[in-house]
């Protein structure tokens, strides 16, 4: 093997793959051979060293390597398209058929979801201490009090009766759809369903509250008809009247009431006109989720007058403690009413 290199010139070394492997150090065999060859002091060692120097310059550029992430990324792209091209070859017809099926499915989905959108029901619930205003598809406005929920149809169609289902308390401002003097049509009615009675209206403003087995309906303007679920009776209401129904006893009362007081919660106020402390504590429990603990239970029958802004519950508690002359301690969801020292 050594023989042939004796007559090598610089150019020959430059073109020799085995010599290049030595310079690049890609072959142990080549490195061993050329080191031994150099040690034997051949006549053309000068040419060999010049070629080595030149090759080292040629190979001195910094190499560029892809990151493993890049290698994987490009392969993912290729693999993805390979799958497509394989399918194209073998399953073109099947794909065309499944495409049609997919298109049909998409179309069905669109029809279904728009049907759902236009006829489906939606439920909105409020947490403690939060109120919410909702506009229904007939432009009627609902103000939902805290700790309450309402279910309504996303969109009512012309002929259908407008119906909503309520738990808790809400104020309704119902759009009057009846524009003629003909008998009332179904689509002109608006019904609020509660557990025990339905409130039927054409277009009015009224408050419905159902808490602790007591249903209260207070009418501000227009007229409403109350209809009990068991079908046993109906009762009309005049503006300024509030009906109350006790589920446990079946008692029905109708009283004239200041609707500003009934509806005050909408404006974040609490109007107390001869209200008992017990009633106020119930409000705090219903709307803010507190549980009241009374050191002196007799205070529940005390009556108070006045208006409390209820922007936040701390405010109510502070004012209440001032009015009642008690210390109210807040502990998580507990309100502890202590005698003032």
């Amino acid at each position: 093997m050594s023989e042939q290199y004796k007559n090598y010139g610089k150019q020959d070394f430059l073109e020799d793959a085995f010599f290049l492997a030595y310079i690049k150090r890609t072959s142990v065999e080549a490195v061993r051979f050329w080191e031994k060859w150099m040690a034997s002091s051949p006549a053309n060692i000068g040419d060999m060293q010049a070629a080595a120097q030149e090759l080292r310059v040629l190979l001195s550029a910094t190499r560029i390597y892809p990151s493993p992430a890049t290698t994987d990324e490009v392969w993912e792209q290729i693999a993805g398209q390979m799958a497509v091209s394989t399918m194209e070859r073998n399953k073109l017809r099947r794909i065309r058929r499944s495409l049609i099926a997919a298109a049909a499915a998409v179309l069905l989905f669109i029809i279904g979801s728009s049907l759902f959108y236009y006829t489906g029901n939606k439920t909105i619930a409020t947490g403690y201490g939060k109120t919410l205003r909702i506009q229904l598809s007939d432009q009627s406005l609902v103000t939902l009090n805290a700790n309450s929920s309402i279910t309504y149809t996303r969109r009512w169609w012309g002929g259908a009766r407008r119906e909503v289902w309520l738990t808790g308390e809400a104020f309704f401002d119902v759009t009057h759809l009846k524009k003629d003097s003909l008998p009332v049509k179904e689509g002109e009615r608006f019904v609020v369903h509660t557990s025990h009675l339905d409130v039927e209206v054409l277009g009015t403003r009224f408050n419905v509250k159902e808490r602790r087995g007591v249903t209260l309906v207070g009418l501000t303007t227009g007229s409403v008809q109350l209809r009990w679920k068991d079908g046993r009776q109906t009762m009309p209401l005049q503006p300024g009247e509030q009906a109350s129904y006790q589920a446990a006893t079946g008692e029905v009362h109708k009283v004239v009431k200041d609707m500003n007081e009934v509806n005050a919660w909408k404006e974040n106020r609490l109007v107390m006109n001869n209200a008992t402390v017990g009633e106020i504590i119930q409000l705090l429990e219903d709307n803010y989720g507190y549980k009241a603990v009374l050191e002196d239970p007799s205070i529940t029958s005390r009556k108070i007058q006045g208006t409390i802004p209820v922007k936040n519950e701390d405010n109510i508690i502070f004012i209440l403690s001032g009015i009642l002359k008690v210390n109210i301690e807040k502990k998580d969801s507990l309100l502890i009413f202590r005698r003032a020292n």
């Binding site: 040629l58 001195s60 910094t62 560029i64 892809p66 890049t70 290698t71 290729i78 693999a79």
Partner: protein, 198 residues
């Protein structure tokens, strides 16, 4: 550089539709193709897309792969074609213009060979500037010949020149390099001597 021993076998497997073999071929050659691509065009996205594009083409047309004799030159020539078409489309230049005048990124650092200790920035710059006088074609042929160790007939095919032309171009490239080096190295050595004598 020798072809990988198992390569012809893998290649035949691809013809038969073996996806695992195809991925192996990809992983064996991606680093080489990536480097070559990045030297032809510094645009990494373009390089990645080009490699992707022609690998998909290989897979789609795998039935005709039997005719390929050596894989590496085949892959390199394919990639070069794709990148050039893309560059041409991008720059709206004619093919001939591209073939004659293009850049090939290959920054030699002879100072690392001639000057053992850290050379000054000034010296490095002088050498780099001198090296920049090499044309894209000269640098590409050096890369294919000495980095990729391709045969002259393979280089000729990739660079779309005759085999004789490939020999000539290599010789001329080395000649230019020697000239540049000769002048620069003398200059650098002078600089070093001046620095040492102070």
């Amino acid at each position: 550089m020798e072809e990988f021993a198992e390569e012809p076998q893998l290649w035949r497997a691809i013809v038969d539709g073996d996806e695992a073999a195809f991925q192996q071929i990809y992983r064996l050659h991606f680093p080489m193709l990536y480097e070559y691509g990045m030297r032809l065009s510094a645009n990494e996205e373009l390089v990645k897309e080009s490699i992707q594009q022609f690998f998909i083409k290989i897979w789609t047309n795998r039935a005709g792969l039997g005719a390929v004799k050596r894989i590496r030159p085949y892959l390199l020539v394919s990639l070069r074609g794709v990148i050039y078409n893309r560059l041409r489309d991008e720059k709206r230049r004619r093919i001939s213009a591209l073939e004659d005048d293009y850049d090939f990124e290959l920054a030699f650092s002879p100072e690392s060979v001639y000057i053992q200790k850290e050379s000054s920035e000034q010296q490095q710059q002088a050498l780099q500037q001198a090296m920049a006088q090499l044309t894209g074609r000269q640098k590409e042929i050096i890369f294919l010949r000495y980095y990729q160790e391709l045969e002259y007939n393979e280089i000729a095919e990739i660079m779309n020149i005759s085999v004789k032309g490939a020999y000539k171009l290599t010789a001329r490239s080395l000649e230019s390099l020697r000239e540049i080096l000769g002048l620069s190295v003398i200059a650098v050595i002078c600089l070093l001597k001046i620095a040492a004598s102070r």
